[in-house]
């Protein structure tokens, strides 16, 4: 399978807010490789502690789990790592490349695993392929679902956002 059979990638990072959409990703939109190389990265993720509770001496004070904004950021960072792999393997900068169905299935499995392990307050439920209307003010980034659907036949992608 070669690259021509995939529809172009239109990544959208949606705040689940009726009034706004943000296209906030640069490499995929510009068709250029990422600048940060995953192999060089050994930085740890930040802790899931909100700003107010971190001082120079100590970041061990915990805020109530249900209000942790930091969990939203962590979810996004983890999703970005998986999607960076999608970008690198399925849309490399080289002019010709081969794609493997196995690789794509493995990536989709990683995305599903990420989605399944989201904390409850970040989960976004879907009804008939659309976000369910009982979700308000959720910051769950639904960009992951966008991308898994974008790898599917074009008809599905049109129904989203």
């Amino acid at each position: 399978m070669t690259g021509e059979h995939l529809i172009p990638l239109y990544p959208v990072c949606c705040f689940h807010d009726a009034n706004r959409q943000l296209c906030s990703v640069s490499a995929a939109v510009l068709g250029l490789p990422k600048l940060l190389k995953d192999d060089d990265i050994h930085a740890e993720y930040p802790s899931d502690t909100d700003d107010e509770y971190v001082t120079e001496k100590d970041s061990s004070l915990a805020s109530p789990a249900s209000t942790r904004d930091s969990l939203s950021a962590l979810a996004l960072f983890r999703a970005s790592r998986i999607l960076a792999k999608v970008l690198e393997r399925n849309y490399p900068a080289a002019t010709s490349h081969e794609l493997s169905l196995q690789q794509m299935s493995a990536l989709e499995a990683e995305l599903d695993d990420w989605s399944d392990n989201l904390p409850q307050h970040l989960k976004l439920t879907f009804k008939q392929d659309k976000p369910s209307t009982d979700v308000t003010g959720s910051r769950s980034p639904i960009l992951v679902r966008q991308h898994t659907h974008l790898l599917a036949p074009k008809g599905n992608a049109d129904q989203l956002c």
Binding site: G31, L35, H42, D51, E52, E56, D58, A73, S80, A84
Partner: protein
């Protein structure tokens, strides 16, 4: 990916499918696009310091909608700078502080429902001027300003500026050692957490 397909081959493919593409400019995809200015009228001088109502709302919106997913600023630290600003806006001369303030205003305002384009254009002018002054510094403060600038440029779809700032930001991030395991450094907890947050926010904005 569109960027990898020669322009003529792409046009031919569209024509083969029976569609007209006389208005289609493949060059638009192949070259990084800048964007139109927010307003054609120059902002009046009195718009330089935004009204309190505007800036208060922007700060609230920023920390409610943006900071949770893009934790580039330490909220208590920023709020202290903002307090300094509202008590005497003219007194703040530090370019890092000015860049961060006006970037936060601009990001929040631009993403709102009825953006005041004139006001945002004035903020844009301010932050660009301040950022330019500190662009060559090898500091976390500069990197934080750059990451905020990436967020702004992404919303504006100013991809020329985005790509320019991103190159500088990633280089700076490497020089500061943010991509390395932070265990090797003996910084305080807040510094380490900030370094990680800034790095991973930049990573998210990179792809």
């Amino acid at each position: 990916m569109i960027a990898n397909v020669p322009a003529e081959a792409f046009k031919r493919k569209i024509q083969e499918n029976g569609k007209s593409c006389s208005d289609f400019n493949p060059e638009a995809f192949l070259h990084i696009q800048g964007c139109y200015p927010l307003t054609t009228k120059p902002s009046p001088q009195n718009m330089r310091i935004p009204p309190r109502l505007f800036s208060d709302r922007c700060v609230n919106v920023y920390f409610q909608e943006w900071a949770p997913l893009f934790p580039v600023l330490h909220k208590p630290t920023f709020l202290r700078v903002y307090e300094e600003f509202v008590s005497d806006p003219e007194k703040i001369k530090n370019n890092h502080k000015l860049a961060q303030l006006y970037l936060v205003f601009a990001i929040a305002a631009l993403s709102g429902e009825q953006p005041d384009l004139q006001q945002i254009a004035a903020c844009e002018l301010q932050w660009q001027r301040s950022l330019e002054a500190v662009l060559m510094d090898n500091t976390m403060n500069t990197l934080q300003c750059l990451v905020l600038a990436l967020m702004y440029c992404a919303i504006r779809a100013d991809y020329k500026r985005l790509q320019h700032y991103k190159g500088i930001a990633v280089g700076l991030s490497h020089r500061l050692g943010l991509h390395q395991s932070q265990k090797r450094f003996s910084f305080g907890a807040l510094t380490i957490e900030t370094r990680k947050k800034v790095f991973w926010t930049l990573y998210t904005l990179d792809w």
